[in-house]
Amino acid sequence: MQTITNTATRYGWASIVLHWLVGLIFIGQFILGFVMVRTSSQRTAFELIQLHKSLGFLLLGLIILRIAWRLGNATPPLPPSVGTLERRTAPLAHLALYAFQLALPLSGWALVSVSTLEIPSMPFNLFVMPNLPLPESDAAESFWASAHWYLAYASIALVALHICAALRHHFLLRDSVLTRMITPSSAGE
């Protein structure tokens, strides 16, 4: 049970599972978003967009949970071997990643809410998700579509940097930064 929460030296299972679950769906959403707007079959495109919306709302729920857990838990400091520059920038990068994780589903939700197509959102065909209370117009739709687009590409650039940093720690610096995000037991001692 003790391994569920974070401690002063390591991540607990809750943080780890949320990180990988959100991380996987997040990258999946980028690929799905990229593919669906380039699909020539209108039917397939429609269905992929509905799936993208369903996963987006699931993601929004998981991210709120993740941020709440993060705020209510200790965060293990980086291992002592990590240099000052990274010690300063890593938390900023993580903060930016959290901001993207919130901003992407919210901008997507705004986009479908203001769209003049008025397509309802029904996550996994389970229930009707209400629209955000924003006035619909073609102008608002193209604004949120480009906001969503810029956020998606900016976030995936940061995620790529984030992955490179994790791989660098593991394979070049050979420290515990990646392994402690994999299991609670293998790191921090």
């Binding site: 209108q42 039917r43 397509i119 029904m122 065909n125």
Partner: protein
């Protein structure tokens, strides 16, 4: 005051009805060509969470034949060109025309051929027939109500529900209802 006026109007309407029907039986017989002017083929599809979207077909053609002695032997033929669908939203129109829904490029016509007409009232009838869309044919029923007969022009109000999934147009269910509500005004000119 209002109630009395309404009551009088209702009584007058009841009295007038059989007369109207009698006139119709004698006078309506003949062949009519459906004219786009004065006709409209509208439809509505309900949406999850309320509301729905409306559309109409701008181009169609057809004939109505009313049998002199036996209304049951009357016939209706209707051909709709799905390319002409309009909802007031260009992106939705393009989607409806595409192979996601009508596939208008490969199936340019939607056809209805009546197989039987049954009178259900003085001015109403149930029209049963075969609807063909995207190469699939199923029996469908529509309610027709005589809405006017003047000179060589006859007007019907036709309503009916069609399940779109049977015609390979199930895209978007259950977000959008499987039931398409048709509401048509068909004006025919004799000849």
């Amino acid at each position: 005051m209002h109630a009395r006026t309404l009551g009088l109007a209702a009584a007058a309407a009841c009295l007038a009805m059989p007369v109207y029907a009698a006139v119709v039986l004698g006078d309506a017989a003949g062949s009519y060509t459906i004219s786009q002017a004065g006709s409209a083929i509208r439809f509505t599809i309900g949406k999850a969470g309320g509301g729905g979207f409306d559309g109409a077909f701008a181009r169609f053609k057809g004939t109505i034949r009313i049998d002199n002695n036996d209304v049951g032997r009357s016939k209706v033929d209707l051909t709709i060109y799905p390319e002409s669908v309009g909802t007031g939203q260009g992106r939705i129109d393009a989607f409806l025309r595409s192979d996601a829904v009508f596939d208008a490029a490969n199936s340019p016509e939607i056809q209805f051929r009546s197989t039987s007409v049954t009178r259900t009232g003085d001015t109403t009838a149930l029209v049963t027939g075969r609807l063909t869309a995207r190469g699939k044919t199923f029996p469908e029923k529509f309610n027709a109500e005589l809405d006017g007969l003047k000179g060589g022009t006859i007007k019907f109000h036709v309503t009916g529900k069609v399940l779109r999934s049977r015609y390979g147009m199930d895209v978007g269910t259950p977000l959008y209802s499987n039931v398409v509500d048709f509401d048509m005004t068909l004006t025919g000119r004799r000849g």
